[in-house]
Each structure stands twice: as structure tokens, then as C-alpha cells.
């Protein structure tokens, strides 16, 4: 039986000036607490009204439920998470959705990644963070975050799975690479990596789990996450937001083609590597 919830007290300023603060131990705290709830709501309303590609919108929303991130400016420095001066200032700007100080110096300069020009640096460093060619960019961050969330969900539900994130050889990479031809070179390797799924869900033993029938029950599934770049082009965002799933669908339609190409590449490579052996044995 849950405890009865007490009704909230009326706002402190409901009392007239002649009786202000009667029975309140910490008047200042009550005033500020009530004000902060309203200020919080006000800021949130204004953040939601900003355009989708405004970094000031993105910054608070993406850390809304992250207690660690939201305490960046209010928490005390801890030994485990210390920022160097430049990194701290960079982090503050990202937290508030402002242009990072380091990229302010390099706006409109070319991004040269592995010797090739890959666009220009913009004020908010979106191009830099979202570049396909730089490791740790926004796209892979999105991808890994979603994968991590699904893994946590599966783990909590007790559903066995294999993930590409496993580093002990028990993940999907270890399983699938064993089936592929050894030492494929160059672009072939890149293509075969595309075949390796992010997740294998073993749900063949499940039926009617969670009381209701689930589409995933009764079979094993291979899952690959396709992630778009975060918050780059306004039209793209409006498009994907207004027509939820459209962008994901177009990504999904491209998947079979990619798999087919990769499979063909792997098969050709296997055929090439087997031919000389056969000739030699003859």
C-alpha cells in the first residue's frame, strides 16, 4: 500500500504581506525553490521552441536525464573526472550550446583528415564532429549510444544476445569474421565489415514473453543499427521529425544492396584465393 501523497502547500506569496512567512522555517529557500521550478519550466519551454538545429536546444535536451552531465557546472571537481583548463572551457561551451572556444579560432578553415580536405570548420564544430572520416564523431557516438541502450534493455529483460561491442572475442565480430575469408585486403575488408551485424538476439526459446506476443519471439535475429548524423541540416531535421521514421526507412532500403555488394565481394575474394590452390593440386 503506497503512502498517501500530501497536497502541495500553496505558493508562499499567496499569503499577504501582514502574515508573510508564518510557519516557514527557511523563507529564502522556499522562495527560491518555487522560483526555480518556474524558471526551469520557462527555460524548458523556450528551449523546445528553438529551431531543431540550434545548439542551445540540443545541449540541454540531450543531457536532460543524465545526472552526471547536468551537474557539470554545479558539482565539485572529483579526482576521477578532472578537466584540463582548455578542455573545461570547451566542455562549458558545449554544455551551454555555445560555440566552442577552440573552433572559434579555426572557423572556415579546411578540415584535413588523413591528408584529404573534408569540408570546412563551422562555428559550432558540427562538421568536425559529424565527419565520417574522423573517429569519435557524432554519427558513431549516436550509433554506439543507441546500441548500448538496446543492450541494457536486453540484459535487463534477460534475453541473451551477442554484440559487436564485446571485446573478448565473444561478440558478433568474432563469430562472423570466422566465417569470412581470411585476410581480405583493402576495400574488401571494409565491405565485409558491413556484413557483420551490431547485435544478434537469441530469442528462439521465447514465446509470449512479457505476457503479450512479441514479434521478436521464437527466432534468432541479427540487428544492424543505421544512424544518421546528428543535427546538421535544418531541412533534414524537419523532414525526419515531421515524418517520423522516413529517414530510417530510406536507410533500411539501402541495407540489402550494401549486404549484397559485401557478400559478392567476399565470395569473389574467396573464389580468387581458392583458384591457385586448386590449380596447384591438379
Amino acid at each position: 500500500m503506497s503512502a498517501p501523497t500530501l497536497p502541495l502547500p500553496p505558493p508562499i506569496f499567496d499569503t499577504p504581506v501582514e502574515a508573510f512567512g508564518v510557519g516557514v522555517k527557511k523563507v529564502q529557500k522556499v522562495i527560491m525553490d518555487e522560483r526555480h521550478v518556474l524558471m526551469n519550466a520557462d527555460i524548458f519551454r523556450r528551449v523546445i521552441e528553438l529551431p531543431y538545429d540550434d545548439p542551445r536546444r540540443k545541449a540541454p535536451l540531450e543531457i536532460l536525464y543524465n545526472e552526471f552531465a547536468t551537474n557539470l557546472l554545479t558539482g565539485l571537481p572529483v579526482q576521477g573526472v578532472l578537466f584540463k583548463p582548455a578542455k573545461w572551457k570547451e566542455q562549458v561551451s558545449v554544455y551551454m550550446g555555445l560555440p566552442p572556444p577552440e573552433t572559434r579560432k579555426s572557423v572556415n578553415q579546411h578540415m584535413i583528415i588523413k591528408g584529404v580536405i573534408r569540408g570546412k570548420v563551422d562555428l559550432h564544430a558540427n562538421n568536425l564532429l559529424n565527419s565520417h572520416y574522423a573517429t569519435g564523431g557524432g554519427t558513431s557516438l549516436n550509433h554506439n549510444t543507441i546500441l548500448g541502450n538496446v543492450e541494457v534493455g536486453l540484459h535487463d529483460a534477460g534475453v541473451p544476445f551477442k554484440s559487436t561491442g564485446s571485446t573478448n572475442g565473444q561478440g558478433t565480430k568474432g563469430t562472423f569474421q570466422g566465417q569470412l575469408p581470411e585476410n581480405p585486403s583493402g576495400s574488401s575488408l571494409e565491405k565485409t565489415n558491413k556484413i557483420i551485424p551490431d547485435l544478434v538476439i537469441r530469442a528462439s526459446h521465447l514465446s509470449g514473453s512479457n505476457v503479450v506476443d512479441c514479434d521478436l519471439d521464437g527466432a534468432n535475429h541479427i540487428v544492424d543499427f543505421k544512424t544518421t548524423r546528428p543535427f546538421t541540416i535544418r531541412q533534414h531535421l524537419y523532414y525526419s521529425w515531421g515524418n517520423s521514421g522516413e529517414k530510417a526507412k530510406s536507410c533500411q532500403q539501402r541495407v540489402p544492396r550494401s549486404y549484397k555488394e559485401a557478400r559478392l565481394g567476399a565470395a569473389r575474394h574467396a573464389a580468387r584465393s581458392e583458384r591457385p590452390n586448386r590449380e596447384r593440386t591438379q
Binding site: F13, V92, P101
Partner: protein
């Protein structure tokens, strides 16, 4: 007779004389009689009276604190007398209180700059924490114990120094929308307002002294302690200053009179009364303006914030 075991504690001895007709009490001699000494802090013994005649009767070894000011029009220098008690400037002379607060603000600003610059060079992250939890609180006590109308300049000076300190450690002026948001950007003051928002839990943010209801809170806590009062269970509490009964009203703070406890006080016409009213309505207006902008209907959007989130 000794009130404390030897060695005697090192007390700052302060005397206040507010009754013009009485002769000054020679407190240092009395203190010696009860085992206290003023030798170490002989210069701390001080006295004040608003009347020049009474001040003339104060012995020479008792300090009378004053500030000097020069009239720019006439070039005449005048002295403004007062006394500091418990960290508050007490004087009937407005100029004394103003100059005392100016001096205090300069001290605090010096300390803020010294500490924040030192930290900003070594570790801005720690510097920010020090700004939040230590330096920001330096002016709070003074804001509490002085009439709100006296501390406007003080608050603005300290706020300005705190803003510099925050800028130094954060690397950006969060309170200046023009610096980081172009004029074409929608809602340019969003970052400014977000920086001013203190989280509901877990700490501070940039909170200007002028935004905080220190004085109002202090009055609500202190005024009921001045007079004798009777609690709801009939228990009696002795007041600290029963001679304020004419200003605060007899039995005003009895439990039966909760709904009218400040009625007599509000009609007294004193400086503190007008400041109390002004502060009450100032903070009420802030609250109502926020209520007006955010009507309390529950949001149906899936983007509703969690109740304890601090953006």
C-alpha cells in the same frame, strides 16, 4: 569573579550608545572586573551615539568610528559617525552606512579577484567550484543584515566582480547574450537566463545578490524573536528587545495573531518597514511574472521535463 577560565578569551569589545540622555558606560573597566581584557584589542573598543553632544562625552580611549566625505560643491569635509556591530553598520547617518558598505564591497571584490585569478590560472574547474560555493556567498551576510535599500550599490559591485570571476573560470561571459548569440538568433537571452537558473538540486549557478531574497527572509526570521510571544501550545518565549513593542505591536507574534503579525510594524513608517514592503512586492512580482509565462497546466508533450531536472 571569572566567567571564563584563564586565559581570558580575546574578545572584540564594542559599546553602543543609543540613549542620548544616558552617560556612556565604560565597558572596558567593567570587562576587566569580570576577568576579560581589552589589552590585545584596545583599539576595538568603540562607541557611537547619533547626537554630537553625547559623542563629546565618550572618553578619548574609546574609538568612535567615522568616515569622511568631501562635498564636491563646497569642498567641505564632513564626518559620518557610526558603529559596526555583528558585521552590520549601525548609524542614523545614511552616508556612514553607504560608505561602510562601499568599503566592505571593495574588500570582498579584492578577495574575489585575488582568489579567482589564482584559481583560473591553475585550474579553472576548481576555480568555478570556488566561485559557486565560496566567493558567491561572501556578500550574503551583509545583504541579510542591512536594509535592502542600502545594499543596492553593494550588490551591484559584488555582482560585477563575481561575473568577472565566473568569466575567468568559464572562458565565456554567459550573462552577455551579444557575445555568444548573434542578433538574428531566436531568443538571444536564453543562455543568460539559463546561467541564472540554479538547479533544484545539487548546487549553485550564477546567482546575483540582487536576485536573492536575503533581507526579506532575515526579517521574517528575526522580527518574531524581538518580542515576548506565546506559542500555539501556550508556551511563552522571551523576546530579545521588548522595548520595540511600540514599533512591532504588543502580542503581534502570539500564535493567535499569525494572520496580522506585521500589521503594527507595517504602519510604523520606518526605513525597515518600507524596505520590507518593497522586497516583498519585488519578489512577488518576479514570481507572478514567471507564473504568467508558465501557466501551471500539466504539459501533454512527450518532451515534458522531469520534475527535478535542472537545465
Amino acid at each position: 569573579m571569572r566567567l571564563w577560565p584563564a586565559p581570558p578569551p580575546k574578545f572584540m569589545v564594542t559599546v553602543i550608545l543609543v540613549a542620548p540622555s544616558r552617560s556612556p558606560h565604560l565597558v572596558p573597566r567593567d570587562m576587566l572586573q569580570v576577568g576579560l581584557t581589552t589589552k590585545r584589542h584596545a583599539t576595538k573598543a568603540s562607541a557611537y551615539s547619533p547626537s554630537p553632544e553625547d559623542r563629546a562625552r565618550i572618553p578619548a580611549y574609546v574609538k568612535q568610528h567615522y568616515f569622511e566625505s568631501t562635498d564636491s560643491a563646497t569642498g567641505l569635509t564632513s564626518r559620518h559617525y557610526g558603529i559596526e556591530i555583528g558585521g552590520a553598520a549601525i548609524s542614523a547617518d545614511y552616508m556612514y552606512r553607504r560608505l561602510w558598505l562601499r568599503e566592505k564591497a571593495a574588500d570582498i571584490v579584492h578577495k574575489i579577484r585575488l582568489v579567482s585569478k589564482g584559481f583560473a590560472v591553475i585550474d579553472p574547474q576548481s576555480g568555478h567550484a570556488v566561485n559557486n560555493y565560496s566567493l558567491q556567498a561572501l556578500g550574503e551576510y551583509i545583504m541579510k543584515v542591512h536594509p535592502a535599500s542600502d545594499t543596492v550599490e553593494f550588490a551591484s559591485t559584488v555582482d560585477e566582480a563575481m561575473r568577472e570571476a565566473f568569466n575567468l573560470c568559464l572562458g565565456v561571459d554567459l550573462l552577455d547574450p551579444a557575445e555568444h548569440t548573434g542578433s538574428n538568433a531566436p531568443d538571444p537571452s536564453l543562455t543568460h537566463d539559463r546561467a541564472l537558473l540554479r538547479g533544484c538540486t545539487g548546487g549553485a549557478s550564477i546567482r546575483p545578490l540582487s536576485h536573492r531574497p536575503h533581507f526579506l527572509s532575515c526579517l521574517c526570521n528575526c522580527l518574531p524573536l524581538m518580542l515576548d510571544s506565546t506559542g500555539p501550545d501556550g508556551s511563552k518565549t522571551k523576546g530579545f528587545f521588548p522595548n520595540l513593542v511600540n514599533i512591532l505591536g504588543k502580542n503581534s507574534f502570539d500564535a493567535d495573531n499569525d494572520s496580522t503579525r506585521y500589521s503594527t510594524f507595517l504602519q510604523s513608517g520606518s526605513l525597515i518597514t518600507s524596505d520590507y514592503k518593497a522586497e516583498y512586492f519585488k519578489h512577488k512580482d518576479i514570481f507572478e511574472a514567471l507564473c504568467h509565462k508558465n501557466p501551471p497546466e500539466p504539459s501533454v508533450s512527450s518532451d515534458s521535463p522531469p520534475p527535478s531536472s535542472h537545465l
